[in-house]
């Protein structure tokens, strides 16, 4: 049953092929068998999951089931879950049990979705390889020596290995799309403000956005419909009506104008990735879409812009972790300053410290204008580039990553090299746009992703393009050896 998509599982539950309890039990068993190898989960909530599955089954028996009732998913451990440890991949929150549910968690729960557990991630979502987690690296099910990408690496690996049919993720600079690309899963990062950030532990507030990692675009559409919409607890969540995303699927791409940004085709792009991208464009042309070259001249500045804006916001967002009200507290502090410094020094890992320190520096007296304000101006230029291009095209496509998955340990000591891995995804966050990564082929046996970018609140069109592409291709159905149908 685990090879089916969420949409197929929903139909099977509806048709009574199996119960939610059986379905949830099956995935829990897979996690138990496989996760010792992959390390994709920080917490597995077996008992709660089975109990929730049973109440989903009785809701169905009572005729109270909705489209998502009884479907299991995993939540990235950045979402607060009431009564369940919420670690954010950090020693700082290793002992933290959230007293409340994030809006995303609450909405999915209300729709009858069953949580299997919480997935591993880069510490506080800061990383592109899942190596900065306090709980150790997640392994890529396509090659256990490779990273699964990050920061939503646990969610991506869990879905790729079909330990969960779908998972939530968050994307600040590519943290959904990049791991989706490296694990052959479908990643959706909605428009900034489309989904509430309430209860999602903040990394960079003006960039963070919750989304999904699924086996298909249709599955993403199903989940987004339940997650999206204004939340009175999040001032930055948009008061824009949520369309029926499933309804929008299946529309012809004939006449759809697709822009290929030439800045994506730079020297850093692996020739293998470039070739796969070219194949994908052919598919779109075959579907009736036109592909034209467009230009985003300031996109090259997106990495430096991001590494001012994101660290600045994170340096402030993470100040609340001081050992006093929650989280790690250093033993026997000498005085107040020692309590702060050691709780934070011992509770945070090296990458988080680097980002806090970078952010502290760029906001400090004498540097604010040169770095922070300057970055905000360049951010305006980058966002403006996209808006200019969207006057001529409906969607923009490009590679999600420059290369397939790299070796665990290869870039971990070289932050700048690691940062450049997100070169194609970061601009989307700076501009607040929705973006997806869909499986589009393999390079040296490793999956790579096609990135599709839409204009603000144009998730419907974006999902439809991905859906139509997936009707023509079968990349997204491929499951890594060892995690294939026979093995589970």
């Amino acid at each position: 049953m685990h090879t089916r998509t969420l949409a197929e599982l929903a139909a099977a539950l509806r048709d009574g092929d199996f119960s939610s309890e059986e379905l949830v039990g099956h995935f829990l068993d897979r996690i138990e068998t496989l996760d010792a190898t992959l390390n994709a989960f920080v917490t597995v909530t077996r008992d709660q999951a089975l109990e929730a599955a049973r109440s989903a089954d009785s809701a169905r028996a009572d005729g109270q089931a909705g489209p998502l009732t009884g479907l299991p998913i995993a939540h990235k451990d950045i979402f607060c879950t009431r009564g369940v440890k919420t670690s954010c991949g950090s020693r700082m929150l290793d002992n933290f049990v959230s007293p409340y549910d994030a809006t995303v968690v609450g909405r999915l729960k209300a729709a009858g979705v069953v949580m299997l557990g919480k997935t591993n991630m880069d510490e506080f979502a800061m990383g592109s390889s899942n190596e900065t987690s306090w709980y150790g690296p997640v392994r890529n099910p396509w090659d256990l020596n490779k990273v699964p990408g990050g920061s939503s690496g646990g969610s991506a690996a869990a879905v790729a290995a079909r330990m969960a049919p779908a998972a939530t993720g968050t994307d600040t600079g590519g943290s959904i799309r990049q791991p989706a690309a490296l694990t052959n899963t479908t990643g959706l990062k909605p428009t900034y403000g489309r989904v509430s950030r309430y209860g999602m532990i903040a990394f960079a507030s003006s960039l963070d956005q919750a989304g999904t990692i699924t086996a298909s675009a249709e599955d993403a559409a199903m989940l987004l419909g339940a997650m999206a919409g204004h939340d009175p607890r999040d001032s930055t969540s948009a008061e824009v009506p949520v369309p029926d995303y499933l309804e929008a699927l299946g529309q012809s791409l004939s006449g759809v104008r697709i822009g290929l940004a030439k800045e994506f085709l730079d020297d850093g792009l692996d020739p293998g990735n470039a070739a796969v991208l070219e194949q994908a464009l052919k598919v779109f042309r075959g579907l009736g879409a036109s592909v034209e070259e467009v230009s985003l001249p300031n996109l090259g500045l997106s990495v430096p812009t991001y590494y001012v804006v994101a660290p600045a916001e994170c340096s402030s967002n993470l100040s609340r972790f001081d050992g006093i009200r929650f989280g790690y507290r250093a033993e026997d502090p000498r005085d107040l300053t020692d309590l702060y410094k050691r709780s934070r020094g011992e509770g945070f890992g090296a990458e988080v410290k680097r980002r806090i320190m970078t952010g502290t520096y760029v906001l400090s007296a004498g540097y604010y204008d040169a770095y922070y304000l300057k970055a905000q101006r360049v951010r305006q230029l980058i966002a403006g580039d996209f808006q200019r291009v969207f006057q001529d095209v409906d969607l923009i496509v490009g590679p999600t990553t420059p290369t397939p998955a790299f070796d665990i340990g290869a870039k971990v000591d070289d932050p700048v090299t690691m940062y450049l891995n997100d070169i194609y995804t970061i601009g989307v966050n700076l501009a607040g746009l929705p973006g997806m990564s869909v499986p589009c082929g393999f390079v040296g046996g490793l999956p790579v992703g096609l990135q599709i970018i839409g204009n603000h609140f144009d998730e419907g069109r974006l999902l439809n393009a991905a859906y139509m592409y997936q009707r023509e291709t079968d990349w997204h159905h491929r499951v890594p050896d060892g995690f294939s149908p026979e093995s589970g």
């Binding site: 532990i201 607890r233 001032s235 006093i324 007296a365």
Partner: protein, 477 residues
């Protein structure tokens, strides 16, 4: 050398909202520790601020009343620093673009002259929690109930030149925020408190001296004392060849001195930046106009009107309009046809004294304005004398009934029947032949003695004017 003191105040007014500025927890004072600190106030991971609309409207009310500009677009920023009473590690405040800016108020000084004080800006921000320094085994306890209470920080220009001017300005702001019903003004509970920026310069010099900031002054008396102490301290330093250090100081009311704050010693770099969790605050012109239309009569407008319409002195009008509740009380009494000056005297005299003695607010006075008017009308129609009225007032205060009930019940009605008074006079003259003889021999001062005797015999109820008149006739005739 003659020195001039230069003072600017930063006043923090806790706004009178029911819930906090960014959360739906209560702002009620005095609850058990941390029982009014919700997830947002505690800075829990993942939570987000949502702005309280009433806090914004209250800020605009203040802005309009203080002749200030209301920013059509203002921004909330984060002020980053670590302190245990600041749960998020930053305070949400307005920095570059405050909601209110560039206004002024006129302060009436003791000598009756007016002094204009500029309002640089007034911005919205959140209050911090409280550190309790009682000994918890050598540790400090943190109560975050106050965290997130809305504050309006009102920053003045350095326009004040003495402690007295600063106090007069603070009193005006105290009066204004209560008139506007945006702050309860309770300084003891910290609802209104201020920091004072103080510097000194030789009289006549244009440039400012180096200033010190005195934190957390929470009474008019402390403001005056702290400024005077600090100005003296700075003058002493300069006169003995030293120079003033720019620093933050704390006023110790026990020792009546200021001293440097150790926790603020470390030079702070607040790393302000716009709070990405909050969007630009836009205030439409029509919102401003509807708030303007809803403004109450302001204290200075009321004072002028009291002088004009009731013929009161500037001083009396000033006293009566100090608090809106007192002014309202007075007007209820006076507008019902009572003599305004009589009403003013009673409100400022007998009533204020009784309230003060009992520690009761005028809104809760056991003698309400209608009841007092009832009493004053009995003075006006000569049913009782002013002296008897005080006795009646005491009974009213004690809850013995209305003025008329007490007058009738105790038989206090003034005697105005001439023949009745005359017969008392006849009796008094007959009882005091010796004094009568002396009077008639020219000792006219004894008139007072006879008046006293007559009043005593009538238990004060005889109309004093008639007594005088009839007595004179009897004595001289």
């Amino acid at each position: 050398m003659e020195w001039e003191v230069v003072i600017g105040l930063e006043i923090h007014a806790q706004l009178k909202t029911a819930s906090k500025i960014f959360s739906a927890a209560s702002t009620q004072f005095g609850a058990e520790p941390n029982t009014q600190a919700c997830l947002v106030d505690l800075g829990y991971p993942g939570v987000l601020p949502v702005l309280n609309g009433d806090a914004v409207r209250m800020a605009v009310r203040f802005g309009l009343a203080s002749h200030s500009s209301i920013a059509p677009r203002s921004i909330f920023a984060r002020k980053n620093y670590f302190y245990p009473d600041l749960p998020k590690g930053y305070q949400i405040s307005q920095y570059e673009l405050p909601v209110v800016h560039d206004g002024w108020v006129d302060v009436v000084l003791d000598d009756g002259s007016r002094k204009r004080v500029g309002i640089t800006r007034a911005h919205l921000e959140e209050d911090a929690g409280k550190s309790l320094h009682e000994d918890f085994h050598g540790l400090t306890g943190i109560d975050l109930n106050r965290a997130g209470t809305p504050l309006l920080e009102i920053v003045s220009e350095p326009d004040m030149r003495s402690a007295k001017e600063a106090v007069a300005y603070m009193k005006l702001i105290h009066q204004l925020v209560r008139y506007l019903d945006i702050c309860d003004g309770n300084m003891q509970e910290g609802s209104l408190r201020c920091d004072a920026n103080i510097s000194v310069r030789p009289m006549g010099r244009h440039e400012f001296g180096t200033r010190a900031e005195i934190k957390n002054l929470n009474s008019f008396r402390f403001i005056e004392r702290a400024i005077n102490y600090e100005a003296e301290r700075q003058i002493d330093i300069i006169e003995s060849g030293g120079s003033v250090v720019q620093e933050t100081r704390l006023y110790d009311s026990g020792k009546d001195e200021t001293r440097p704050m150790r926790s603020k010693e470390e030079a702070n770099d607040y790393r302000y930046f716009p709070d990405p969790d909050l969007l630009p605050l836009k205030i439409e012109e029509q919102t401003v106009e509807s708030i303007r239309a809803d403004l109450p009569e302001l204290p200075w407008e009321k004072r002028d009107r009291f002088v004009e319409s009731y013929g009161l002195s500037d001083y009396d009008a000033g006293v009566l309009t100090t608090a809106r509740s007192t002014a309202d009380y007075f007007e209820t009494v006076a507008s019902g046809g009572a003599d305004a000056k009589l009403a003013a005297n009673w409100v400022m005299g007998e009533l204020a004294g009784a309230l003060n003695k009992a520690g009761i607010e005028i809104e809760n006075s056991p003698v309400g304005p209608d009841a007092l008017r009832g009493l004053l009308s009995r003075i006006a129609d000569e049913t009782i004398s002013g002296k008897i009225a005080k006795e009646v007032f005491e009974s009213m205060w004690a809850g013995e009934g209305s003025a008329d009930e007490i007058i009738d019940g105790k038989g206090l009605r003034q005697i105005t029947d001439s023949s009745a008074i005359q017969s008392v006079i006849d009796q008094v003259l007959a009882d005091n032949p010796q004094q009568l003889e002396q009077y008639r021999a020219g000792k006219v001062k004894l008139l007072g003695f006879f008046v006293g005797q007559v009043m005593k015999a009538t238990r004060g109820q005889a109309n004093p004017a008639q007594v005088n008149d009839l007595l004179r006739r009897s004595l001289d005739g």
